[in-house]
C-alpha cells in the first residue's frame, strides 16, 4: 500500500471518530453548548485544554523555531516557559474564582463585576480582536496541513477542515468540542512522541527524549554530551552555538512574561475551566492541563536539538564521529542513490528543503556564510542578473565589466574570510548550498529520517490535523459565545428564550466558521505578526482586568474601562509603530530592528508593559472615583470562596 492511501485511511479513521463523538455529545441546552453542562471530569478537561492549547504551530513548527533560530536554541526557551508558565497564573489567580462565578463567558464576568454594560462590550471587543486574529492562523494551518499530507490544494484542505469543524462544533458546542478534543489530544501526543523516542534512541541511547536532551552523544561512545556535540558541530559550520546566552536578557525576560500572562488571558483557554463541576476541580484541572501540555513541550526542545544535529551530520558525514570537515560534504550522487537518504528528495519536492550545487563540485556544502561572503555572493548574483536582463541592443560592455569586478571581489573574500582556521579558498567552498531549511521539517521529516514504518508517517499527518482542528474549534466557540451570549442576549435582546438562544449560538458558530474560513482563504498578509498582537492584547487587556476584578474590592467600572482601553491602545500602537498601522505594509514608523526598539523591547514583548499600564491606569482612576457599590462587594466576596458554586446560573 502506498503512503498516500495509508495517510487517507488513518486520517479518515480519526475523522470518523470525531464525527461519531459529536453525534453522541449533542448539546441540548445553552449550558451544554457554552460550558458542556459543567460536568466534565477535571482530568478529561485537562486533556481537552491541552489539545485546545496546542495548535498546528506547537505541533509542527515549535521544535524548528527552537532548533533553527539564528541566535541559538537557548534564546527560544521563552516559548517553552512562556506557554506553560501561564497555567500557574491561571490556576492560582483566575480559574477557580471564575468557575465559582459560574457563568458562561469572560465578558459576562467583566460586565457583572464592573456593573457596567460598557465594560462588558469593551471585553467583547478585546475578546473578538484576540480570538479572530488567532483563528486566522489556525484555519491557515488546517489548510496547509491538509495540502501537505493529502495532496490537495491549501484551499481545498481549508474547505474540508471547515466542514469537519462545522459538523461537530455546531452540533455539540462546548460539549462536542470537549470530547472531540480529548480524542484529538490522544492522536496528537502519540504522533509526536513515537518519532521523538526513536530519534532519541539513535542519537543518545536514551528512551526518554527528555533525558536524551541532557544525555551523551551515542555514536562516539558517549564521551561527550549531545548538547556539547551539537555546539561543536554548529560552531564549526559558522553558526551561533546552540546553547549560547541571549544577547538581550531584558527583552527575553519581558517576552517570556508577555507569553505567560498572555496565555492566562486568552479567552478560549479561560472558558475551558468553566466546564468542570467544582472550584477545586478548576484548580486541579489546570494542573492536569499542564501535565498533558508538558508531555509535548518537554519533548519539543529535545526533538529540535536532535533534529538539528541529525541535519548537520547528514550534510557533513564526517561530523558524525569527528569534525565536520574531516570528510567531504554529502555528495549529490549519494542523495540520488542511497535509500536511507531518499527523504532529502522527498522533502525537496515539497519545497521545505532546498539545495543547489552552486560551485559544481558534485557536493552540497552546508554552512553559515559570514556577512562579507554573503554580500559578495549577492553582488555577483545582482551583476549577473543585470547583464541577463539587459535589452538585446544595449551596450553590454559596462555590465560585463561589473560582473568581472564582482567576481574578483568574491575571489578576494574567498581568499581572506575564514571558517575555523582555513579560508574559503583553502576549503574549496564558494557559498552555502543548502538554501532553505523550513522550521516544519524538524518535526515532519523525523519519521522518514528514523526510517519508521509508513503508519507512523500517517499518524503524524493525523496528529498535525488534530492539533489544528482542536485549536480552531476552541477559538470559534469563544467567539460565538461572545456573540450569542454577550451581544445578542446581553445587549440586543435580553428576553430571548433558552431555545432561541441555543439557536442563536448555533447560528453564531456557523457564521464564525464562515468568516474564519474566508479569512483563511484570503489571509490579510500579516498572519505571522498577528500572533504577537493576540498575546500582547490578551496580556494587556483581559488578564489585568480579570485579576483586579477578583483581587481588588476597590477597582471600579471607570477604572476597569480606562485600564482596558489604555492597555489595548498602548500595546496596539507600539506594535503598529514597528509592523505598520493595522499591519498595512509600508506604514511602519520605525524599522523593526533591535537598534530601533525602545529600551530594546521588541513588539513581541510589549504586552508585559501594556499590562503594567493597564494596572496603573485602573488603580489611578479607581482611587479618584467612587468605590464599587455594596452588591458588587458581595459578589467579590462570594467568588472568593468555593462553597456553593453548583450549576451555572442561566442569568
Amino acid at each position: 500500500m502506498d503512503q498516500f492511501t495509508l495517510n487517507l485511511i488513518v486520517v479518515g479513521f480519526t475523522f470518523a471518530i470525531y464525527i461519531g463523538i459529536a453525534i453522541w455529545a449533542r448539546a441540548g441546552t445553552t449550558a451544554e453548548f457554552y460550558a458542556a453542562g459543567q460536568g466534565v471530569n477535571p482530568v478529561m478537561n485537562g486533556m481537552a485544554t491541552g489539545a485546545d492549547w496546542m495548535s498546528a504551530a506547537s505541533f509542527i513548527s515549535m521544535a524548528g523555531i527552537i532548533a533553527l533560530a539564528p541566535a541559538g536554541g537557548y534564546q527560544q526557551s521563552a516559548f517553552l516557559m512562556g506557554w506553560t508558565g501561564g497555567y500557574v497564573l491561571l490556576a492560582m489567580l483566575l480559574a477557580p474564582y471564575l468557575r465559582k462565578f459560574g457563568k458562561f463567558t469572560v465578558p459576562e464576568f467583566i460586565g457583572d463585576r464592573f456593573y457596567s454594560k460598557t465594560a462588558r462590550l469593551v471585553g467583547v471587543l478585546c475578546l473578538i480582536v484576540i480570538s479572530v486574529t488567532y483563528v486566522i492562523g489556525q484555519m491557515r494551518g488546517v489548510g496547509v496541513t491538509f495540502s501537505r499530507f493529502l495532496e490537495v490544494t491549501t484551499d481545498t484542505g481549508l474547505y474540508i477542515g471547515a466542514t469537519v469543524v462545522f459538523a461537530y462544533a455546531v452540533l455539540g458546542g462546548m460539549k462536542g468540542i470537549t470530547y472531540t478534543q480529548v480524542a484529538q489530544y490522544v492522536v496528537l501526543i502519540i504522533a509526536y512522541t513515537i518519532p521523538a523516542i526513536f530519534i532519541s534512541l539513535s542519537l543518545t541511547g536514551s528512551f526518554l527524549p527528555q533525558l536524551g536532551l541532557i544525555g551523551s552523544y551515542a555514536p562516539t561512545g558517549g564521551e561527550v554530551s549531545m548538547l556539547a556535540k551539537l555546539d561543536s558541530v554548529v560552531t564549526e559550520l559558522g553558526f551561533t552555538a546552540y546553547t549560547a546566552d541571549t544577547t538581550n536578557m531584558f527583552n527575553m525576560f519581558l517576552f517570556t512574561m508577555s507569553l505567560m500572562i498572555g496565555t492566562a488571558g486568552l479567552p478560549h483557554v479561560i472558558i475551558r475551566f468553566f466546564t468542570v463541576p467544582k472550584v477545586a476541580d478548576a484548580r486541579s484541572s489546570a494542573g492536569w492541563a499542564l501535565v498533558f501540555i508538558a508531555l509535548l513541550y518537554t519533548v519539543a526542545p529535545a526533538v529540535g536539538a536532535m533534529a538539528r544535529l541529525n541535519l548537520s551530520t547528514t550534510f557533513w558525514p564526517g561530523a558524525k564521529e569527528g569534525s565536520a570537515f574531516s570528510m567531504p560534504a554529502l555528495s549529490v550522487a549519494d542523495i540520488e542513490s542511497k535509500p536511507e537518504l531518499a527523504w532529502i528528495n522527498t522533502w525537496k519536492a515539497t519545497g521545505l528543503l532546498a539545495f543547489e550545487d552552486k560551485n559544481g563540485d558534485g557536493m552540497i556544502q552546508y554552512f553559515n556564510e559570514p556577512k562579507a561572503l554573503a554580500d559578495a555572493n549577492k553582488a555577483v548574483a545582482a551583476a549577473k542578473k543585470a547583464l541577463a536582463d539587459a535589452a538585446a541592443d544595449a551596450d553590454k560592455a559596462p555590465l560585463e565589466a561589473a560582473v568581472t569586478e564582482a567576481e574578483t571581489a568574491l575571489t578576494t573574500v574567498l581568499g581572506t574570510a575564514t571558517l575555523g582556521d582555513k579560508t574559503f579558498a583553502e576549503l574549496g567552498f564558494s557559498a552555502n548550498e543548502v538554501t532553505k531549511v523550513d522550521n516544519d521539517i524538524m518535526v515532519l521529516a523525523n519519521p522518514e529520517i528514523a526510517a519508521l514504518p509508513g503508519w507512523v508517517i500517517a499518524l503524524v499527518a493525523a496528529g498535525g490535523l488534530a492539533a489544528a482542528l482542536s485549536t480552531a474549534a476552541g477559538l470559534l466557540l469563544a467567539i460565538s459565545s461572545a456573540v450569542s451570549h454577550d451581544l445578542i442576549k446581553g445587549a440586543i435582546n435580553p428576553n430571548i428564550s433558552e431555545k432561541g438562544e441555543l439557536l442563536a449560538a448555533r447560528i453564531s458558530m456557523g457564521f464564525a466558521i464562515v468568516v474564519a474560513t474566508w479569512l483563511g482563504l484570503n489571509p490579510p498578509g500579516f498572519a505571522a505578526q498577528v500572533v504577537a498582537l493576540a498575546f500582547g492584547l490578551a496580556a494587556a487587556t483581559i488578564f489585568p482586568v480579570l485579576m483586579m476584578g477578583i483581587f481588588s474590592k476597590r477597582v471600579n467600572s471607570a477604572g476597569a474601562i480606562a485600564g482596558m482601553l489604555a492597555g489595548l491602545i498602548f500595546t496596539a500602537v507600539y506594535i503598529f509603530l514597528y509592523l505598520g498601522w493595522f499591519f498595512v505594509p509600508g506604514t511602519a514608523v520605525y524599522a523593526n530592528t533591535p537598534a530601533n526598539h525602545f529600551f530594546g523591547i521588541s513588539p513581541l514583548s510589549i504586552g508585559t508593559v501594556g499590562a503594567v499600564v493597564n494596572f496603573a491606569v485602573a488603580y489611578g482612576v479607581s482611587m479618584v472615583t467612587k468605590a464599587p457599590p455594596a452588591h458588587v462587594v458581595e459578589l467579590i466576596e462570594s467568588i472568593r470562596v468555593p462553597k456553593g458554586a453548583g450549576k451555572a446560573q442561566a442569568h
Binding site: Y74, M252, A294
Partner: protein, 85 residues
C-alpha cells in the same frame, strides 16, 4: 459564608499560599532560567548547564508540581474554614 472574620482569614491564607507559590514560579523560570544563567554556568544537569535545563525542561516540571501542591493545600484550607463544596 457565615462570618466575616473567617472569610477574611480564609482569603488571607489563600493569598499567602499564592505569594509563596509565585515566588518559586518566578525563581525557577525567570531566576534560574534567565537572569542567573550566566552566573551558574558551571553547574551541570547531565549534559546541559543548569540555566539551559531550567529554561527548556526544568521550570515546566516545577510549574506542574506547584499547581498540584496549590490545589492540595487549598483543599485543606477550604476544609479548615468550612467552605469546601
Amino acid at each position: 459564608m457565615a462570618d466575616k472574620s473567617s472569610a477574611n482569614a480564609y482569603w488571607a491564607a489563600n493569598v499567602r499560599i499564592i505569594l509563596i507559590s509565585l515566588a518559586i514560579w518566578f525563581a525557577c523560570s525567570f531566576g534560574l532560567g534567565i537572569l542567573l544563567r550566566p552566573a551558574l554556568s558551571g553547574i551541570m544537569v547531565g549534559g546541559a548547564d543548569l540555566g539551559f535545563w531550567f529554561a527548556q525542561n526544568g521550570s515546566i516540571y516545577v510549574f506542574i508540581v506547584l499547581i498540584f501542591v496549590y490545589a492540595k493545600m487549598m483543599g485543606k484550607v477550604d476544609a479548615e474554614h468550612g467552605v469546601e463544596e
